[in-house]
Every structure is written in C-alpha cells, then in structure tokens.
Symmetry: C2
Subunit: 388 residues, 2 copies
Amino acid sequence: MTEQVIAGTDLSRLRELNSLTVVRALRDQPPTTVTELASVTGLSRPAVDVIAQGLVSSGWATVVEPGGSSTVGRPARRYRFRATAGHVIGVDVGGHKILVLLADLDGNVVHTARRSVAADADPASRLAALDEILAACLRDAGKTASDIWAVTVGVTGPVDASGKTTLFTPLPGWQTVDLATHLSDRFTCPVIVENDCKLAALAERWRGTARDANDIVFLLAGMRMGAGLIIDGVLRRGFGGAAGEIGALKAVKWLTAPSHLQRCPGVPPTVGPDDAAAWVFNAARDGNRDARTAVNRYVKDVAIGTAALVLALDPQVVVFGGGFSRSADLVLEPLHRELRKLVLRMPEVRASTLGADSVALGALRLALNEVDQRLFSVGLSAPVAPRR
Amino acid sequence: MTEQVIAGTDLSRLRELNSLTVVRALRDQPPTTVTELASVTGLSRPAVDVIAQGLVSSGWATVVEPGGSSTVGRPARRYRFRATAGHVIGVDVGGHKILVLLADLDGNVVHTARRSVAADADPASRLAALDEILAACLRDAGKTASDIWAVTVGVTGPVDASGKTTLFTPLPGWQTVDLATHLSDRFTCPVIVENDCKLAALAERWRGTARDANDIVFLLAGMRMGAGLIIDGVLRRGFGGAAGEIGALKAVKWLTAPSHLQRCPGVPPTVGPDDAAAWVFNAARDGNRDARTAVNRYVKDVAIGTAALVLALDPQVVVFGGGFSRSADLVLEPLHRELRKLVLRMPEVRASTLGADSVALGALRLALNEVDQRLFSVGLSAPVAPRR
DNA sequence: CAAATATTGCTATGGAGTTTACAAAGTACG
DNA sequence: CGTACTTTGTAAACTCCATAGCAATATTTG
C-alpha cells in the first residue's frame, strides 16, 4: 500500500485543483469551448468560465475568438492550452551520434539538432560536442537556457539516482562522467540523466507502437542488447536504476547474441564490424543460407532473455526496437515462435515504429513528465521555468 | 504517463475528501484529540470537529471520553477509528492445509481457523473443506457472511483476471475450478482469488521483514519455487496475472532445484518425500557432507532464477520465504554469495519472519486494500459491507 | 483559592461552486 | 426580410465549507 499524504484541503486549494482539471482537459486538445470544458470536467459553466479567464490572465491559456461558425446558436469563444509557455529538451548521447530535440509543452518538436561523434571519442570531447550542439540548438530555435523547463539526456548503461553510470557503460571513459552536474552548470531547470533503453520504451508508449499498452517490455536491439520496462503505465527504473539489465546474466544469451551476426560466414572483408549485421540481414532477405542460419541463431538467443523478462513481468506487449528493428520483418516471426515455446502466457510482439529517434523522443517525454509532476503537485502560478 | 481522471470537484466532494483525510489520520493510531488531528491534517480545529462528529454519527469513529488526564489544561475528548465496523477474511488454500484468518478493518486478526487436507484431495472435497472451515470460522467469531467486507483466497499457480488458474496449478484437478464464482455464492462482498507467492510478498511488506522497502522480490521456497513482486510499493500481477513465474524458464534452474534435496544420498527410507528436504537441512546443519553438497547445489540453482528477477527488476530487497525459510540460516549466506556473482547491483537478502501464515496474512492485506480502495474512491457513507 | 493552560462551543466572515435568469449573437426557415 | 430557435456570455442570489476570533469551561499548578 502506498503511503498517502494526509493533508486537508481548503477552498483556495479547491480552486487550484479545478484549475488543474481544466488545464488537463485543455491539453493535447484542439481549442475548446467553455461548454465543452464544463461537460468534460463536470463543473458548471460559470465556474469553468471564471477558471478559464484566470488561466488566460496567468498565461496558461489563450483565447481563440470565434471565426466562421458552423452550428446554430451564438458562436463560442474557445480556449487553447498555451503550449509555447515553456519548452523542454531531450537528448540522445549515443556512441556515434548526439541528437537533440527541443519541444513545447505539448511535445511538439520545434527544433532538431544532430551531430555525429567518433565512437572512440574521449569523454571530454564528447561533452564538448554535447555543449556545442545544445548551444546551437538553442540559438537556432531562438531560445535561451532560461526558457527551458526540463532537460533529459539518454545514455547507454544503467543510470543511478544521481545520474551517473558507475556500474557499467560502453562509452569509453564514461564511468567517471557526472553528466547531470555538467549540465546543471548550463541550465537552471531540472536535469535528468536516464538509460537509453528506458527512454526508448517511454517513447514507444507515447508515440510509438505501444500506445494502447500499460505493461510493456521494450527491447533495444543492436550490437548491444538492452531492455526498458513499463509496468502499470509507469517507467520502471529499479531501486538502483538497473532494472531491465537481464543481459548481464550469462544463462541468458544476450551478450553473445549479436556475435552470430558479426561472425556469419560470407561477410565481405570490405564491410566493417558495425555494418556486418546490416549486411547479414540483407543477405538473409535475399535467401543466403548462412545468413538465414545466423539470424535464426541470433533470434533464438534474443528469445531466451526476452522470455526471462516476459516470465518475470507478464507484459501485454513486447516491442522489438533499436537499430535492428529495421530488420524486424526477419526477426518478428521467429521471435514469436521461439518465445511461444518458452513462456507461460504469450504477449503480443510488435516492431518499433520510431526508429533512430526513439531515445531522444523518450527523453522529451521524461522531461515533460517532470514538468507535469511539478505542475500538478506545486500548483498553477504563472508559467515560468522551474528551478531545481 | 498514467491517464488521469478529468473530474472537477465541488464543495460536497471537498467535505468528503477532508473526511477521508481525517479517517486516514485516525487509522492505525491510538485515540486522537481534535487538536492533534487538526495539526496532522492541516485543517482548522472547528473543521475537524465537525468532521469528527460526522464520522461518529455515521459509524466510522467512536468517542473516547477523557479519563485521567496527564497534562495541564482541559482534558480533550478523543476519537478512535471504529475498526470493528467491518471485517475481512484471508484464506490460504494450500496443498496440505487450509488456513482462514478473520480480521477487523485495522487488520487485527480476531479469529483463526486451520484444517489439514489430503494433498491428493479432489477439487470437490477440497472445496467442501473450504466451505466448512469458512462457516466454522464465521460461527466461532460470531459473524455472518454479510458482516464480511472482502474475501481474498490464495492458491498456487498463476491466477488470471477472472480468478481462475487455467495456465497451471499443482493442485489436482484445480484447472477447471472457478473459486471466485464458488465463493460469490456464499458472500455478497467482493471476492478475490490470487496467487500465493504474490500474497506472501504483500504480507512480508505489511508485517514482515520488508516493511521498509518499496521494491521487493519475494521467493516462496518449498518443494515448488515461486516469486512475488512488489514494485514501487504495489503488488505486480502482470497483464495476465502471471508475473514472477520465472521458474517456467528451463535456462533458469528452479524446476529442478528442490530435487537436489530430495535425491540427496543418505536420506533414510522411512522419511517420506515431503519431509526429505527438512531431513537434508537438518543433516547439513549437523555437518553431513552429502547434505551440505545438496544444499549448496540447491542454492546455486535458486540463485540463477533469483538473479534473473533481480536483474530484470533491480529490487531493494530479496526476501527468502516459504516452507524452506525455516532453514534460512543455511541458505542466506550461500545465496548472497552466488547472487553477488551473477547480478549487477546487489540487493539486500533477508529471511522471511512470517513463516507458514504469510499467504493468509497477505490475503488479509489484499482484502483490506480492496476495502480501502472502495472507501477512498466511492466515498464515506455509512459503514456497511460493500456489494459487488 | 486564584492563575495559567488547554479544550470546547459559538458566531461572523469570506471564498468557491451552483443555480437561475436574462441579454447577446448567431442560424434556420417561412 | 423578419421571426423563432439555439447557444453563449454574464450577473445575481444562494448554499456550503473552512477560517478566525471570542467567550465559556474544565483541569492543573502554585
């Protein structure tokens, strides 16, 4: 049982609650009339009227004066959530690239900045590249750091509560990097660092293939396998931020799974190690026997770790994402078949639809969650960038 | 992101919310004065006064007139939550026994009934025994079925949303039993059927060794291995009720783990298969070499499945419970050692303190949760047994 | 016995939402 | 083109809830 806050409510808090209710009803909606809001919220029309005007004067909403009216009766004034009152940033710091998304409070991406980074870049130069691209993104979007309400950065490896990746990370030298502190010098708003698999899982539920599901196992499949878990609609971090790291168990074959692709016979020597997998998938699609065998072995190994997660959590959906999701057409069917042999209750298996942007999108979503949480706990004053 | 209910609040709902706040403050507390309640809830003293009197007149609270006062000033009237306004029942239907606990709304057990059942009893006779013991428990406690606000029954095997164990259960013939419907004929209140491991996990967090933790992996260790998961303080059922069934994965050695104990060389033929494990644990404690080896092999196998759960969920605590938890002194140290080799972040490992009652206790807790949920969503009218 | 302290009961005040009523601004139709 | 109808916007009256402040009461302490 969750510990409930024991706190009484007075009338000003009542107004605040109802204002938040109206804001919720307004968000992610086309401009809405007072009557519609009244029926959605269950409040009376005059009450909503007062609240809506209050939201306009405090800056949370804007008025849309009636244009060409289409129905009978007096045309209604409409109210719209002012999503541009604040902005958030989501970043994906990957091995090869850094991707920055800047979005408004409705999650509409207003600017994108991408830049490639050498896979073996040392932490200092990677951080420098991050600083540069962040500055460029802000500049090009016509914003300053103080316009940003929350920043989330996705990195590989489990992230602890302080935002560090001390347990393990494939980025060279990254164990000692304190990314959260580094960015806190550049932003006054909350800065969150989170594991890339977890963020991609969030994205898949927000705008991807699992929008309908509350219990999701997300697989980030690439040269490294990872997983992100959403349980009861909430991203699961684990007590130390290491949830979903089933790949560390040797009995589960995730560590070695991608090597079936890399070591597949027949890969031309001209193809680098990073592109071997793509070559094998293409060859398998063309009917190459060795390639098909390699893919099947790969899927068999992936299925074992996936089965462990499915048995542990009994999700509604398993989403196959990450770099290899471009080859989901080859993977999904055998993955489904292998999984069926191993689990008690078979979940749906779907392919990711978001591709390479999923981590940065998930970072956006987490930043928006942070903003929402403040909004709905602290209350509605004037819309300004929150400080830590 | 959880979907929030969009509903406005008017003044009567405000009063209801504040009444619930006072009830929450009153529960699990010694009798409390109005002034104390006012400071805890943040409401004004007159407001609390009115609310408290309302609770008394509706039957949710009782007045304790001031007795010998210990402080200066006028002695204050005190209010107490009327836990006896309703009662709940928690049942453990095990292979060998049925245990029934009857408790008030504070979870105080007011009556216990236990009865052994043959392990190979057919479903009909097991259900008959259940009916009998339930009737006897109600009679001896001086209650009728209509006094009961919620009933929860724990059974082995994964339980789906409708309360059936269709996927798998070790109880003979139990696949086709519809326990929820069976009991619904005997009670008008909500009836919940749930997996025994999950219930034991709840109990351990409520009154056991994991009261401080919000992220728990509970192991029900006996001749069958099972697990119950509490994540973010909430019991995790999984989409189809099959969460925690990691034992079904062969790569994880839970199915065969107990056989190391049963097949240990040196077990006297006079010892039956059900008591072999106890004999081996005792022998190991006395220094028997074969027995120690058997225990170590057992623990090694248990550790693999546990590691899978720990890696998947990254819990704060692993609780070793179930029948074998009596031998936790032999298991805990090697389990800790083996686990440390396999996981990324080491959780605490603790032994269960509840013993054989844990499943029935957890059933009580779930029944109380059901009552609470109704209370805090439907609102406070007069305290009467809820109907489905 | 009086002073100090704390609780209880009562009244006035103000804030928030609802209901009711009515004017204003459109459309539909003869 | 004018009337009937529909819906919106706004104001006033009313109800309900919590608060603040004050008087009355009960008990301890010196």
